[in-house]
Every structure is written in structure tokens, then in C-alpha cells.
């Protein structure tokens, strides 16, 4: 599948491939999304805004250039921005595919980095030589200003022109806590939300700190997705309960929403409102307790995004999806086309009962 090579300013021009609960594939325009939903359904989206999480700078002990990609954080709290998980690359920028990027200089504990106006300490390497615990040596307000003004959006070589921050924000973007865009949300603009409301389709949000999707290192990519903090507002949890009681479908916009909701519902009972940290991987063996359908971008087999789709439909159906998308020239990745995948009837599910 070819990747979309430019940010799509008008999500309505995107195409949409739908798979119903019987595994049947159909083709639509993304603008037709409301017609795939019914009165009483609930659409849940991730309203995280995207941080400009790529910081160019210098490894001070060797005076060599590095790029730091912020990739994870313990919580969503605005004051909690001094410690991050980060992936460090050597010289260069997004124009070089990540798999061809040089390693950073050998990192020793407590090495100092200069990142524009910010100073940071690579406290220790984590499970991989490119993955570090990064500590900013400033108060939170200075860190926010430094990231906001010096940071650039994380991007990949298949989009050649530099992305601006506004290219990475969905219409509903609110708290800047995502490291890459929760890109399925690009399908929602304000006019679509108004149409959904007029058709009796409910809309709710959660906030999930979507992490990075690729590091260019197969070993490191196997660790993805990292742990991601999320927040489920009380009204969202209430609407989910209300919808399930009335027999409506819960439609997740993006893999991050599936991950957050299924994590919030992991204990017997209901989707718990409040703060949590999603640590689980969702694959073909996962029981979906909450989510009935997912709206997602198209991603390659093997990626963590694709793996999650295997909880919704069996492999032959997903292979059929990929071959039809290929044949019709659908565009992959975050600025590409979208799929609407209902959970197959035959898929294993321990749905919460109302």
C-alpha cells in the first residue's frame, strides 16, 4: 500500500473501507461516515492534541548532533513534564527513513543534552540503546515553552514537506499530550460532528497520550506501544454505560481509544472513569469488552496498529481488506484513507452485560 505523502487538510476527501459484522467489505467516502452509524450509537474519539515532540540538539559530552523524540510520560498532568521516555537518534532528521538513521553517540548515565533552549539529562538507558529516561532540568513552565517553541512534530520520510504543528492537530484536539497524532480523528470535522448529532448519534471523548508508532529499529518496535496514560471523563463513562444498556454500538475512533477503553474496563464491572495507564497489547486473542467497531487508518500487517485490528476480524477478512485496499489504491498511514471495522460475529468477546 502506498503512504499518503501530504497532510490531508480536508478529511472529507478521504476514502473509507467498511467491514460489517459478517466480514463483508464495502467502499465509501469518509464524508459518508455518518450514514454508517445509527441513532443510539456512541462515537468515542481521542481528543489529545499533539506535542511537537521532536527536539534537535547536541550530546554535550561528545558535541555530536542528536534528535530526541519524546515518546512517553507517566501522567497527563500539566505539571508533570520534567520526565519522559525518549528515543534518541544520531545526526539527521525525518528526511532519512528511521531505519537508516545512525545511532546516537554511546549514552552513559547522566549524559547532558542541549535541546535548543532546554537542558536535559539522559538519566539512564532503558531496555534498548536508543531508549532513555530523559529528565529536563527546568521548572514545568520552562519545559512547556521550550517544547512549544523549539519542538517540531515527529514525522516520517514518506511525507516530504516539513509538518507544521497545525497539520498534526485534529479538529477536536485539546490537551497537548500525544507524541504523534491520534490520526483516525482527522476524519472528524465540526460539520461531521453536527451531522452525527442531528442523526441521534452520541459523541464522547477521552484523552490518551498516543505514543510513537515507529522507531526504525525492529527490536525496539517490538516493544511498541509503550505504556500510555489516559483519562476517561465521567460523562464519557456514563454515556458508554447508557449506550450499552440501550443496545447501541460503541464506535472507537482510533486504536488509542480501543486501548484506553478496554484497559478502563479490565476489571469486572464497567468502564471506570478517571486516570489510568494502558499497559496491555490488544491482538487476536484479546476479548473486546466494550468496543463494537473501530475507525482507523490503514497500516501494514505486523505493525502494532494492524495487530489490534485482529481483535475485530479474523485474518482472512483482514487480508481481503488489504488486498481490496491495494487494488483500489487506498493510501496508508496517518494522513491517508480510513477503515471502519465492525467486530465480527464470530470473534471471541466477553462483552460487558448491561
Amino acid at each position: 500500500m502506498n503512504a499518503a505523502t501530504a497532510p490531508r487538510q480536508d478529511g472529507n476527501r478521504a476514502r473509507l473501507l467498511a467491514i460489517d459484522e459478517n466480514g463483508r467489505v464495502s467502499h465509501h467516502r469518509a464524508a459518508d461516515l455518518p450514514s454508517l452509524l445509527q441513532r443510539g450509537d456512541l462515537v468515542v474519539a481521542n481528543d489529545a492534541a499533539t506535542l511537537p515532540a521532536s527536539l534537535q540538539g547536541t550530546h554535550l559530552p561528545t558535541d555530536r548532533p542528536v534528535e530526541v523524540r519524546l515518546a512517553g510520560r507517566r501522567s497527563l498532568a500539566g505539571h508533570d513534564v520534567t520526565r519522559f521516555t525518549a528515543v534518541i537518534f544520531g545526526a539527521g532528521d525525518y528526511r532519512t527513513p528511521t531505519e537508516h538513521r545512525p545511532d546516537p553517540p554511546r549514552l552513559r548515565p547522566d549524559d547532558e543534552l542541549a535541546l535548543g533552549p532546554l537542558r536535559a539529562t539522559a538519566v539512564r538507558t532503558l531496555s534498548h540503546r536508543r531508549l532513555v529516561e530523559l529528565q529536563f532540568n527546568h521548572p514545568p513552565a520552562v519545559v512547556w515553552e521550550g517544547i512549544a517553541r523549539h519542538g517540531r512534530p515527529i514525522q516520517y520520510a514518506y511525507v516530504p514537506a516539513p509538518l507544521a504543528v497545525w497539520d498534526t492537530w485534529t479538529s477536536i484536539a485539546s490537551q497537548p499530550v500525544a507524541f504523534e497524532p491520534p490520526s483516525a480523528g482527522f476524519v472528524l470535522d465540526w460539520a461531521t460532528l453536527r451531522t452525527l448529532r442531528s442523526r441521534g448519534v452520541e459523541f464522547a471523548t477521552l484523552t490518551h497520550a498516543a505514543g510513537i508508532s515507529s522507531t526504525g529499529d525492529a527490536e525496539l518496535d517490538r516493544l511498541l506501544p509503550f505504556d500510555e496514560p489516559y483519562y476517561v471523563p465521567r460523562p464519557t463513562a456514563a454515556l458508554i454505560r447508557h449506550t450499552m444498556r440501550r443496545g447501541g454500538r460503541i464506535v472507537a475512533v482510533g486504536t488509542t481509544v480501543v486501548r484506553a477503553l478496554e484497559h478502563a474496563a479490565r476489571l469486572p464491572g464497567w468502564v471506570l472513569p478517571g486516570h489510568g495507564v494502558a499497559t496491555q497489547r490488544i491482538t487476536t486473542l484479546s476479548n473486546l469488552r466494550v468496543v463494537d467497531a473501530i475507525i482507523s487508518g490503514l497500516h501494514e500487517a505486523g505493525s502494532s496498529h494492524y495487530e489490534l485490528l485482529r481483535a475485530f476480524q479474523d485474518d482472512p477478512t483482514l487480508q481481503e481488506m488489504t488486498s481490496q485496499a491495494d487494488a483500489r489504491g487506498y493510501l496508508a498511514h496517518e494522513f491517508g484513507d480510513v477503515v471502519f471495522i465492525s467486530r465480527g460475529r464470530r470473534m471471541f468477546s466477553r462483552r460487558l452485560t448491561a
Binding site: D47, A49, G78, V81, A141, V165, S174, Q175, R197, P233
Partner: protein
């Protein structure tokens, strides 16, 4: 009448280091709001933060496209969200004031950049946060500071008056469009005030006839409290119990049509 408090409200004010903006920052803080303010010059921001240590200062120029998202990110990082945005930063256009025919095109563009396009961009960047506030049970709003020059064709006030007229109309349209999201967009004319901006426009004005910016700030804070404030200062989420029924979710928009004239 229920007392509406600004407790717990997260409010951002542009142009927060002088005149009405500075008065608003002080007034809103005194009423218990959490306040971030924006201004172009770092020394001004630092001076205001020394005077009002509870306020969070952000350096940036709303008329510059590249500054808008960095401003939004810093506001949201400081306040963990947003309930009220006050677009107060204004440019007079060329001074001394002059007839439109003597106004350079670039000066008109600069006035529009600060008074119309800047507030549009910043509001758009923060709209997701305001909508999130509404979904959480809040009554978020945008206040665009206007002027009687938006309505009355004062000679020599062309760049300023035209840009404020456009901002006022933008406010009306946006207010109608965002009704379903539970977000209000108001245009408020604070009256002629004794501010640096007024002194620039009318250097020989009789200052005793002008309104104190503190008075205008109180009046605007009253309006914000009336619409966005929470009864008795109870935070939003605690007011939501169980499944939100239709009535509860529509509550923030009740009285919308009766209220629209308040601001004009």
C-alpha cells in the same frame, strides 16, 4: 439569584500586560479563576508575573501564525484545559490615526492580523479544549473585546473600526455555529477607557471622562461569571451524577437566544 463564582474556571487573556487585559487578569484571579495571559514582550510578561504571581505568563504574538500553537500549548500546559478565552489584544492600526485613504495597505493588514485573524487562529486552536469543557458539563465561552468603533463609522479609525466590525460579525456567526457544541462566542464593548491604547489614539483626551479599565474588567468578569460561572462554585464534574439525560446535557444552552443581546 444564584451566586455564580469563577472558582475553578480556567481562563486565558491575550494582551494581558496593560490596560483592560491587565485589569482583567487581576480581577479574574481575585474571583478565584486560574488565569494564563499572553503578551508580546518578555519584560512586560515578567513584570506582570511579579505583580500577580498566581497568573501564568506566556510570551507570544497572536498576530504571528507561527506563534499561535506555541501559545495554545503553553496555555493548556499551565491550566490543564480551558473554559474561557478572552481575545483582548488589539492593534489601533497606524498612529497617529489617519483617514483610510492615507492608510497603507500593509497597516490595514497588520490591524486585521491582530484584531481579526489572530483571535480566529487562537480560538480555532483552543476550540477542541473549549468543546471538551462543554462535554465535561462546563459552559465554555470566547469573549472577543470589541469597540463602538465596530458599529459607528468614526473618521480616522478605519483600520481599527473595520477590523473590530469584522471580529464582531465573526463572533455572531461563530456563536450560532457553536450552539450545538455548548460554546458561547460573545463580543463585548467595554466602552472608552483610560488605557495606553486610548492615549495613543486620542493623546489630548480628557482622561476624567474615560472609564477606568478596572471598572470595565469588573463588568466583563460579571458577564463571564453569569454565563460560564458555576453555581456556588461547585466544579463541573461533581455536578454530573450517573448517566447524563437529555435535559442535563442541554442545560448549558438554555436561554441562549434570550442572552445573545447581553453583550451588545
Amino acid at each position: 439569584m444564584i451566586h455564580h463564582s469563577l472558582n475553578h474556571l480556567r481562563i486565558a487573556v491575550t494582551g494581558g500586560t496593560s490596560g483592560l487585559g491587565r485589569g482583567l487578569v487581576r480581577e479574574l484571579l481575585e474571583r478565584g479563576a486560574r488565569v494564563a495571559f499572553v503578551a508580546r514582550h518578555r519584560p512586560d510578561v515578567q513584570r506582570t508575573m511579579l505583580d500577580l504571581p498566581a497568573a501564568h505568563g506566556v510570551v507570544g504574538d497572536v498576530s504571528r501564525k507561527e506563534d499561535v500553537h506555541p501559545i495554545a500549548i503553553q496555555i493548556l500546559g499551565a491550566l490543564d484545559g480551558l473554559d474561557v478565552l478572552v481575545n483582548n489584544a488589539s492593534s489601533l492600526g497606524p498612529v497617529p490615526l489617519r483617514p483610510l485613504a492615507d492608510t497603507d495597505c500593509e497597516d490595514l493588514e497588520r490591524a486585521l492580523a491582530t484584531n481579526l485573524v489572530g483571535p480566529f487562529r487562537l480560538t480555532k486552536a483552543l476550540l477542541g479544549s473549549l468543546a471538551a469543557s462543554a462535554r465535561g458539563g462546563g459552559r465554555p465561552m470566547v469573549v472577543n473585546i470589541s469597540s463602538d468603533a465596530a458599529v459607528t463609522p468614526y473618521e480616522n479609525w478605519g483600520a481599527y473600526g473595520a477590523s473590530k466590525a469584522a471580529l464582531q460579525h465573526l463572533s455572531r456567526i461563530w456563536d450560532a455555529e457553536l450552539a450545538g457544541e455548548g460554546i458561547r462566542v460573545l463580543s463585548i464593548d467595554p466602552g472608552d477607557m483610560d488605557t495606553p491604547l486610548h492615549a495613543l489614539a486620542v493623546p489630548d483626551a480628557d482622561r476624567s471622562t474615560l472609564k477606568h479599565p478596572e471598572t470595565a474588567a469588573r463588568e466583563i468578569a460579571d458577564q463571564i461569571a453569569l454565563i460560564a460561572g458555576t453555581p456556588n462554585g461547585v466544579p463541573y464534574e461533581r455536578q454530573i451524577v450517573g448517566a447524563p439525560d437529555e435535559d442535563h446535557r442541554r442545560a448549558p444552552f438554555q436561554g441562549r437566544h434570550q442572552e445573545t443581546e447581553v453583550a451588545r
